[in-house]
């Protein structure tokens, strides 16, 4: 369960102060698949980053699985992310110098896992996204849809309980986007993974359990 209590986020740049999120209260239940929608610049990514512990709110609390980690050391938060959270981004964020299989293994590098186990779990994850046959390719040898599927394999290899996906289909055409969507829905149904997805696409959003709408940093009902 993810709980956001009275969240406020301001970005402080040299001269201007941007209020990106204002008084957000939100609960995402375990096993839920929600989508966040709203116009560009309304604070969707900011919200997702806070929920994913990639950033800290200016005010308010983020509680995941009953734990409030805000005050903890960076290392402890990193460990928590590593074990409980998976991320998918709009731009795929694969490492170009590494073959697909190594990209997928990445989260396990920061856990105590033998290289053998890393390998078979990466192969398993690639199997789930239907890319076993591309494991030795490099990211730039893959299509956009394939890249995003590699990114999904990377997000699920650590068997996280929550996946944060920021416009996972934003760079894909509707057919490929639907494919990615199917994988996420399947994960949610069969593995009971909580999914929080930012999207601009009403059709995709309608496939999820609940739609959260943001406008100018605030939630609208």
């Amino acid at each position: 369960m993810i709980q956001l209590k009275n969240i406020q986020k301001t970005y402080q740049s040299d001269l201007v102060e941007t209020l990106a999120l204002n008084n957000i209260n939100l609960t995402v239940n375990e096993g839920e698949f929600i989508s966040i929608m709203g116009p560009s610049g309304c604070g969707k990514s900011t919200l997702l980053n806070l929920m994913g512990l990639l950033d800290k709110p200016s005010e308010g609390e983020v509680i995941i699985g009953g734990q409030n980690l805000q005050m903890e050391k960076e290392n402890k938060i990193a460990k928590f992310r590593n074990q409980h959270l998976g991320f998918i981004f709009q731009s795929f964020h694969l490492i170009g110098d590494l073959p697909v299989i190594d990209n997928v293994e990445l989260p396990l590098l920061y856990r105590k896992t033998s290289s053998k186990e890393r390998r078979w779990r990466a192969e398993e994850a690639l199997e789930q996204v239907g890319l076993s046959h591309r494991k030795n390719h490099y990211p730039n040898q893959l299509s956009g849809g394939q890249r995003q599927r590699v990114a999904i394999a990377r997000a699920i290899i650590g068997q996280p309980s929550i996946i944060m996906a920021d416009e996972p289909t934003g760079n894909l055409d509707s057919v490929l986007g639907l494919e990615v969507m199917k994988i996420l829905m399947d994960l949610n149904e069969s593995k009971k993974v909580t999914v929080v997805m930012v999207t601009h696409d009403e059709n995709m959003a309608n496939m999820t359990h609940r739609i959260i709408r943001l406008y100018d940093g605030s939630l609208v009902n």
């Binding site: 990639l54 960076e74 460990k79 590593n82 991320f87 964020h93 920061y110």
Partner: protein, 432 residues
């Protein structure tokens, strides 16, 4: 692609810097390291020259008038008082043989003293072709103090020297020049002037350019004509002395005994003061470079060399840090990504330092190969006379340490700064 370019530039910079460092290390080690025949260099003091001075004198003439009966008698006394510290004239040249025998060889503090007459050019005519060789006249102790690498035969013993045997020790290079290539040169004869000399020993040519050990030919000092051994002035002569200090004994003990000799020795030829200049290997090397009379400038020389080396290392290190910053900055989205998936700052720190070490090591290997090529080139071109650079394991390990240091220094700062970057801002952009 940009990253590849930066990597290449870094690699080139590292290779080049390390190459220069390795060549300098090789050079210093060959010239000033304790390699044969200078394995004892830390216990050796060279006495290449003596200085004798005569002070300016103030003459006071006193005239006394004494009345003797009717006439007056004048009594003139002339008193000369030396003006200490104002040299009237001074002379600085080699040591007299007799002086060495009487005062240096009899010293209590050294383990061994050798007296020799340093290299002079001689001409020999193998097959009627003129060949110039550098010859030194040495005693038996010379071969005990300097551990030459004998390929054949041996140095002179006491009796060879005492009997004025016409013997020679020569370097293998010189032997080959004179006799042509052969497996053995032992007991062959060299004609110099009207005399024949027998080869009793063949030594490997030392790598250092030190004038004491670098001559081509050595002969017994007893063959050195008396008129050259001692000059007719002061304690001067055509000789040098070398003192081997006792193992573990401070150099100061020897220096103090030399001071005592200076103080107690009876002056002659109107000189007022005698100074014996003692230098170690590095001093001897530094002196002509500084063109100074200071016989202990070795320390200063080493300071200058190491300061220059330090600066030399500093500039590329700063450059490399900058390059590494750019290189790592290009990868900030990768850093953000790794952090999102649980990498801790220390993981990233290790990763980047490790990567930089690999890069530095590659640079080290390339630099090492370039060094071997350069050393070879320098030796072929004979840029530095009498000096032959050779790479050995000591230089190799020094280079490895330099390389590691370089890698650590240039990797740590950028890696640390990048590992501290905020995640959210780094994952905004990615091309793949």
């Amino acid at each position: 692609m940009r990253n590849k370019f930066y990597t290449f530039v870094s690699l080139f910079g590292i290779s080049f810097t390390l190459m220069v460092l390795m060549v300098v290390t090789a050079f210093l080690d060959n010239e000033l390291g304790s390699n044969r025949p200078l394995s004892n260099k830390d216990d050796i003091l060279f006495l290449p020259n003596l200085e004798m001075k005569r002070w300016e004198r103030k003459t006071t003439t006193t005239i006394d008038t004494i009345a003797v009966g009717d006439s007056i008698k004048y009594d003139t006394t002339i008193v000369e008082t030396p003006l200490v510290g104002q040299p009237y004239w001074s002379s600085n040249t080699g040591l007299g043989y007799t002086f060495c025998v009487e005062h240096i060889s009899t010293m209590a503090s050294p383990a061994l003293v050798s007296i020799f007459a340093p290299g002079g050019q001689i001409e020999v005519y193998p097959d009627n072709e003129r060949l110039e060789l550098n010859a030194s006249m040495v005693d038996a102790n010379f071969w005990l103090i300097f551990d030459f690498e004998f390929i054949e035969g041996h140095g002179f013993d006491e009796s060879t020297v005492d009997n004025q045997a016409r013997s020679m020790v020569m370097t293998e290079v010189a032997a080959e020049q004179y006799f042509g290539h052969s497996d053995s040169y032992l007991n062959r004869e060299i004609t110099w002037g009207y005399e024949k000399y027998t080869v009793v020993g063949v030594v490997a040519k030392p790598n250092t350019s030190n004038f004491v050990v670098s001559p081509d030919i050595f002969m017994p000092i007893s063959l050195f004509p008396d008129k050259f051994k001692d000059h007719d002035l002061g304690y001067f002569g055509g000789c040098n002395a070398v003192i081997l200090n006792k193992k573990g004994q401070s150099e100061n003990v020897v220096i103090n005994e030399l001071k005592q000799i200076e103080n107690n020795i009876e002056m002659k030829d109107d000189f007022d003061i005698l100074t014996i200049h003692a230098s170690n290997l590095v001093d001897l090397y530094a002196q002509p470079l500084f063109k100074s009379n200071n016989n202990r400038s070795g320390q200063k020389f080493l300071w200058i060399i190491f300061t220059i080396l330090g600066l030399f290392l500093l500039i590329p290190t700063i450059n490399l840090i900058n390059l590494n910053m750019t290189r790592i900055y290009e990868r900030s989205s990768e850093i953000g990504l790794r952090k999102a998936f649980g990498a801790q700052s220390k993981d990233l720190l290790f990763q980047f330092i490790f990567e930089n070490m690999i890069l530095t090591f590659l640079g080290g290997i390339i630099g090492f190969i370039m060094t071997l090529l350069i050393i070879n080139g320098l030796n072929e071109a004979k840029i530095i006379e009498n000096s032959h650079l050779q790479f050995n394991s000591k230089i190799f390990f020094t280079s490895i340490i330099i390389t590691l240091f370089f890698g650590l220094c240039s990797g740590i700062i950028p890696a640390w700064r990048m590992s501290k970057k905020q995640i959210a801002s780094t994952i905004k952009t990615s091309r793949i």
